[in-house]
């Protein structure tokens, strides 16, 4: 490792940062038997900007009892509003460390062009949820080495989005922590809930292949994989 570093140093002028503490704003805490990634600082800065630093925490990011409806007299076609901007910031948090708010953010993203007060309220609710959970991140543990070390879940929610389309999602875990996840409105219209499930499974299978290739390149070949619904 030291020789490798000095080789790099011979080639370019570099700053050695040692063990990483931050990558693109994501805080990394390393200990002997675990690695934690979290974004509490970024979340805090968003809360501060929105004046919700001391918001009352809620247990769920989306209120299950209020159906979200498009505002038909809204500003159709215009996506450059503060709602969309804030959603984009939340989407980055989703992509980086927080799959738990993925569904809420995804649902609200359907209404960037036809906003009403309802959606702004729902967005504030996500922030309230984050306010209570700001110090939660993902922890990867050191576990006994075993041939099958990552596994995933896939599911679909039939005709949950507008336009009769279903939502599919998957998550892959390794060493007790989520490594990749995705939540998306499906591109085609599924006629059956089974069909929607198959679409979700197919997307998860593609991710599984990619993960397997990646780990294969690192020399960690995984035999057999369990994808569960």
């Amino acid at each position: 490792m030291n020789k490798m570093k000095s080789d790099i140093r011979a080639e370019w002028e570099v700053t050695d940062l040692g063990e990483p503490s931050k990558i693109v704003g994501i805080k990394i805490t390393m200990s002997r038997d675990s690695i934690t990634i979290l974004q509490s600082k970024y979340i805090k800065s968003i809360l501060k900007k929105e004046g919700l630093e001391r918001a009352n925490p809620v247990a769920m990011p989306l209120d299950p009892h209020t159906p979200l409806v498009p505002n038909l007299e809204g500003n159709i076609g215009d996506r450059s509003n503060s709602f969309a901007r804030l959603l984009g910031e939340l989407q980055f948090i989703v992509n980086a460390t927080r799959p738990d708010i993925a569904y809420a953010v995804n649902r609200l993203a359907l209404y960037t062009t036809n906003l009403s007060l309802q959606h702004v309220g729902a967005l504030k609710r996500i922030l309230q949820y984050l306010s209570g959970m700001r110090n939660h991140g993902i922890v990867y543990h050191a576990l006994p080495q075993q041939p099958s070390f990552f596994y995933g879940y896939a599911d679909a929610s039939y005709r949950n989005a507008d336009n009769r389309r279903s939502i599919s999602g998957y998550v892959f875990l390794a060493r007790n922590g989520a490594i990749t996840w995705c939540l998306q409105k499906q591109v085609s219209i599924a006629l059956l809930s089974t069909e929607a499930e198959y679409v979700a499974l197919s997307e998860a299978a593609q991710e599984a292949c990619w993960l397997r290739n990646l780990y294969g390149e690192l020399g960690l070949l995984q035999e057999g994989i369990a994808t569960l619904i």
């Binding site: 940062l17 690695i35 993902i138 060493r175 780990y215 690192l218």
Partner: protein
């Protein structure tokens, strides 16, 4: 430095403009510690086919970072981060690009800068830096560091990631044999 050389402007050449970007660096207490200045070329004035052709450069996916971090504690991988200073200035420009002399440093002769290295702001800067990094680290550093397999084979991997600012961070993971 060899970043550019001053030449008489050839007929028909369209020199692109540049701009100084200044930044104030503060420490944790918010006290000014240093002033930084960077000269950037206005890449938006570059014309496809004349001033640049290929601009592609791979960027690390967040998923890959997490996938590696996830296995690091179990397989006892060392993770190190390094940052190349003025990374893009290491890339060598293949195209012939002329630039106006920078403000405050012009010699008043009306000559223009023929760029040699990829200045920040050029469209192909990230592409050329990736080639530079790939050839000079891939040939030397990496094959020399495939360690003896202890639990898994070929546990040496390097992933490069270039950020928007061009500073370069990379992971090198290698088997920690003493643990």
């Amino acid at each position: 430095m060899g970043t550019w050389k001053l030449v008489e402007k050839p007929a028909g050449a369209v020199p692109i403009n540049n701009k100084w970007v200044f930044a104030k660096k503060r420490n944790k207490e918010g006290v000014l510690t240093k002033y930084k200045a960077r000269l950037v070329a206005k890449g938006c004035a570059q014309r496809l086919g004349h001033d640049y052709i290929e601009t592609h450069s791979p960027v690390m996916r967040l998923e890959t970072i997490r996938a590696i971090l996830a296995i690091a504690p179990t397989w006892k991988l060392l993770i190190q981060q390094m940052d190349v200073k003025g990374a893009y200035l290491n890339g060598t420009l293949k195209e012939c690009v002329y630039m106006q002399q920078p403000e405050g440093f012009a010699d008043g002769t009306g000559r223009v800068c023929l760029l040699i290295k990829t200045l920040y702001g050029l469209k192909q800067a990230r592409h050329e830096w990736n080639i530079e990094f790939d050839t000079n680290s891939g040939d030397k550093a990496i094959p020399a560091y495939v360690p003896t397999p202890v639990h898994i084979s070929g546990a040496s991997e390097m992933i490069s990631q270039s950020s928007q600012y061009g500073s370069m961070t990379f992971f090198c993971s290698q088997q920690r044999s003493d643990l």
